[in-house]
Symmetry: C2
DNA sequence: CTGTAGATGCAACTGAGTTGCAGAAAAATA
DNA sequence: TATTTTTCTGCAACTCAGTTGCATCTACAG
């Protein structure tokens, strides 16, 4: 049994467990997102799946579906493009299981996934409660040029 | 000399000092933004200036111009709409003189301007440097519903 | 007052995302 | 396996926020 086929079946199972049908768009997306070290935009997903011949709207809908099924997380960073990252059920070192802060680099546009240890935010309760943190600045590669 | 005329002349001077011509679109915008307790979107500006009969694109261009002249600040929050807030030259209690963190309420969409005292962010330098902070969560009005 | 750099209106365009609908493909069922 | 039911997909048209080219207009320096 070929390796590729095997993986495909694994992803199909993940989808089914989440209550979604195992369609090629969703399988390829999941696989791509799982491989990616950082969140991807719709556009990046299209480019990352040159073999897949899917309509734009289908891809958008697939990303929505994966998001509402809890398999991926959608990030609204401050640059008018949504990004998606895989949510793994069992928290591992990468820490993708729970929401975490992100740093959007204003120079190169890259996203750095942070942990709650990296950034500590304290907000007086009278002002509200924090659910998500987005930093903008210069990433490790771009700082002091 | 009518009060309104006086204010108009003040704003014209502000514009001229910043190297911009004193056009009605810019004057009305500055006045509106200065009155507003929170950043406004282009759309909100249009609605806030019902008397002004200006083309959409002119308003957009005016907002751009004010921004690049340093008279207003443009905020890229995570909801695909730009917001603009007045930058006052002399720092006052409102603290609008310098960039500051903002809280975007995920319930009602309101923006709360914060101060650096309200939120303390520490990011390990190896990961980059922070220039702006955006929090998402529940604003004072919406928390615990 | 005038000449001109710069602002405006209009219409067409972009990019990201959404939507209605008819036909196609999964999964459920028999 | 064949049939039925449910969900997904492609397509085309649409929305929303913002941008752009160009002819015309206007603020203001001289
Ligand atoms: Mn992340
Ligand atoms: Mn503010
Ligand atoms: Zn960078
Ligand atoms: Zn709120």
């Amino acid at each position: 049994m070929p390796r590729r086929k095997q993986r495909t079946e694994d992803w199909r199972q993940v989808l089914r467990d989440a209550g979604l049908r195992g369609t090629s768009a969703r399988i390829e997306l999941l696989e791509l997102l799982a491989r990616s070290p950082r969140p991807l935009t719709h556009q990046e997903a299209v480019e990352g799946l040159p073999q897949v011949e899917t309509d734009r709207s289908t891809l958008f809908r697939a990303l929505q579906d994966l998001t509402s099924a809890g398999l991926v997380r959608r990030l609204d960073l401050g640059d008018r493009v949504w990004r998606y990252e895989r949510v793994v059920a069992t928290a591992d070192a990468a820490g993708e299981a729970v929401p975490h802060p992100h740093l959007l680099c204003v120079d190169c546009g890259n996203i750095t996934c942070l942990t709650d240890d990296d950034v500590q935010v304290k907000l007086p309760k009278r002002l509200g409660t924090v659910e998500d943190v987005l930093l903008k600045g210069h990433c490790a590669d771009c700082k002091e040029s």
